[in-house]
């Protein structure tokens, strides 16, 4: 009896602590479309007259934050232009209004331009994401009107770059030079992506080569050089390698493979979080909308890359399934208009992702960007089902981007 009791207890501990259920809510393309529309509406309907987004709203305290973050502004602008490029052309006026805010706040020095406001640090992240917004606008509209800004901003990133490919996080207004020894967790990847996108538009300006240098640094040196214990789950690097068309060395290939695996583990772990009872203690609370959205962006980049990247090709269906799972979690956690109706300011709640009663612009930024590719992944999975006469591998290899 004692042995039996030990086995039952052991099995219970195993189940609860190590293998809790991984729950991926069912989700359809229609659900994702509705979530995209709702998140985008949150952003554009709450734009200020100066083109700034609603930054942070606390529905419990019913307060709106007056602080602001420029990389997140540029990131939200990017997400809107990504949506425009995906066919949501009704978002263009709002996206352009957010772009005007960036264009009204350009800092020029030598031959380059950076997005910042007076008194703020000159950051690589905000300028890198401004480039992303501009390039996505160009793709969506075919309009080259801001090409000079893209070039100028990319030149800022190039002058920041160290020979190793590392990207100091700031340009110091006092010393008139890149800061020494300060590197951002996200800025490097944001800069890499911006350079990669600029290189797509201007292939002869050296921007692609600069992006490659930073990509090589991220893949081979960053963790040790910048003192990180673990490899960063860098969704911006995922974007960067996707925009570069994949890896170019064995080290980068290995990095991309490991990055995809990291995102897979994170997806499975997040799917075990319910915010309730014992699981909340053992697995912590559910991620922020921004966190789950960024995870989605990371997986999305790997999914898009799997169409061409040899080491990921066999994982395309698995990556699509992870995106389906993330999509289900995102849709389930988004505040619906019905749920928002009881909030003090329903227009600040509907379409948003909250945690501990607060939502922030990057909650909608990352989720919107992720949902756009999640939609594609759901269609791909549907096509695999339709091809059931073929093997899954054949259908996956033939799969659409």
């Amino acid at each position: 009896m004692a042995h039996l009791a030990v086995w039952i207890l052991g099995a219970a501990v195993f189940r609860i602590a190590l293998v809790p259920a991984e729950v991926c809510p069912a989700v359809s393309v229609q659900d994702v479309d509705a979530a995209i529309d709702s998140a985008a509406s949150w952003a554009v309907d709450n734009l200020g007259e100066d083109g700034r987004f609603l930054y942070r709203y606390d529905r419990v305290a019913n307060t709106v934050s007056t602080s602001y973050n420029l990389p997140r502004h540029a990131g939200m602008s990017t997400a809107l232009f990504q949506a425009v490029a995906a066919g949501h052309t009704d978002l263009l006026p709002g996206a352009d209004a957010s772009l005007e805010y960036m264009l009204d706040n350009l800092f020029e020095h030598d031959n380059w331009i950076a997005f910042t406001t007076p008194g703020r640090k000159v950051k690589i992240g905000s300028t890198g994401l401004m480039i992303s917004a501009l390039v996505h606008r160009r793709v969506a509209t075919g309009d080259p009107v801001h090409d000079d800004v893209i070039r100028g901003a990319a030149r800022f990133l190039v002058q920041q770059q160290e020979p190793s490919g590392a990207m100091p996080a700031f340009w110091d207004r006092d010393t008139q030079a890149p800061t020494v020894g300060i590197y951002g967790a996200f800025g490097t990847g944001e800069a890499m992506w911006g350079l990669a996108l600029a290189g797509q538009v201007f292939p002869d300006d050296g921007f692609t080569e600069a992006a490659r240098r930073t990509g090589a640094y991220i893949a081979g040196h960053r963790r040790i050089a910048e003192g990180h214990e673990l490899r960063l789950p860098d969704h911006w690097a995922s974007y960067g390698f996707d925009s570069l068309g994949g890896s170019s060395t064995a080290i980068e290939e290995r990095y991309v493979q490991l990055l995809a695996a990291d995102f897979a583990v994170m997806t499975r772990v997040e799917s075990t979080r319910t915010n309730e009872g014992l699981r909340r203690w053992l697995r912590w609370g559910q991620a922020l909308g921004a966190g789950l959205g960024a995870l989605g962006e990371g997986v999305a980049g790997m999914y898009r890359l799997s169409a061409t990247e040899e080491v990921l090709r066999d994982d395309r269906a698995a990556l699509a399934e992870h995106l389906r799972c993330i999509g289900g979690m995102l849709v389930e956690r988004q505040t619906t208009p019905e749920e928002a109706a009881s909030d003090p300011l329903p227009e600040f709640s509907a379409g948003a992702w909250f945690r501990d009663g607060a939502t922030q612009v990057d909650d909608q930024q990352h989720t919107l960007s992720a949902l756009l590719t999640i939609r594609d992944a759901l269609l791909f999975l549907d096509s695999l089902k339709a091809d059931r006469g073929d093997s899954i591998e054949t259908a996956a290899a033939r799969g659409n981007r």
Binding site: H3, G10, E22, V23, A264, V265, R268
Partner: protein, 181 residues
């Protein structure tokens, strides 16, 4: 895992050297008979667990990779326990038919590490490779059961060596699981 690693895991997690140390009878015939019977049951159990592995994790809503990682963590832990304390109180064999079930099948052959190894191998490798590994482990257990203990320290060292293999393979399986997309 390649075939060699599967067999190695199967043998190491059963740890025939440790089983020999814990078979409490001085009669080689009694030990051999009990070990043979227990091993046959062990192979059958391994096959049964391997065949229910995939349906079980589906029912539990657990991804194969997650199960592999979790099982490997427990398997590694059992290996560490054996390294630290390779020998407990020998299990008495009465020379009765039921010896093959208790104590040979359980607790000597089918401990938590072995049970999880058979389930996990069943999910990842399929039933027949798992049965094959269990059969090799069973054969080794039966063979060693008939041998006299002689120098005990040698058997303890062998038990610890096999437990070390368990730890190394367990860690490798955790890494393998973490690196799966």
């Amino acid at each position: 895992m390649n075939g060699l690693a599967i067999v190695l895991l199967g043998v190491a997690v059963v740890n025939p050297a440790r089983v020999r140390l814990l078979l409490g009878s001085r009669l080689a015939g009694v030990r051999s008979k009990a070990a043979l019977g227990g091993s046959v049951l062990g192979v059958a159990l391994a096959g049964a667990l391997a065949s229910v592995g995939s349906p079980l994790i589906d029912a539990l809503d657990v991804a194969p990779e997650t199960f592999r990682i979790a099982s490997a963590m427990v398997i590694t832990l059992t290996g560490l326990v054996v390294i630290a304390a390779p020998v407990g109180t020998p299990e008495k064999l009465r020379g009765a038919p039921l010896d093959v079930v208790i104590p040979v099948l359980y607790p000597l052959l089918a401990g938590p590490g072995a049970v999880l190894a058979w389930l996990s191998l069943g999910v990842d490798e399929g039933v027949w490779p798992t049965v094959g590994a269990a059969a090799v482990a069973g054969a080794a257990t039966t063979l060693l059961a008939g041998l006299p203990l002689g120098r005990r320290s040698g058997w303890v060292a062998a038990a610890r060596l096999l437990a070390t293999v368990v730890v190394l393979l367990g860690v490798a399986l955790v890494i393998d699981g973490v690196r799966e997309v």
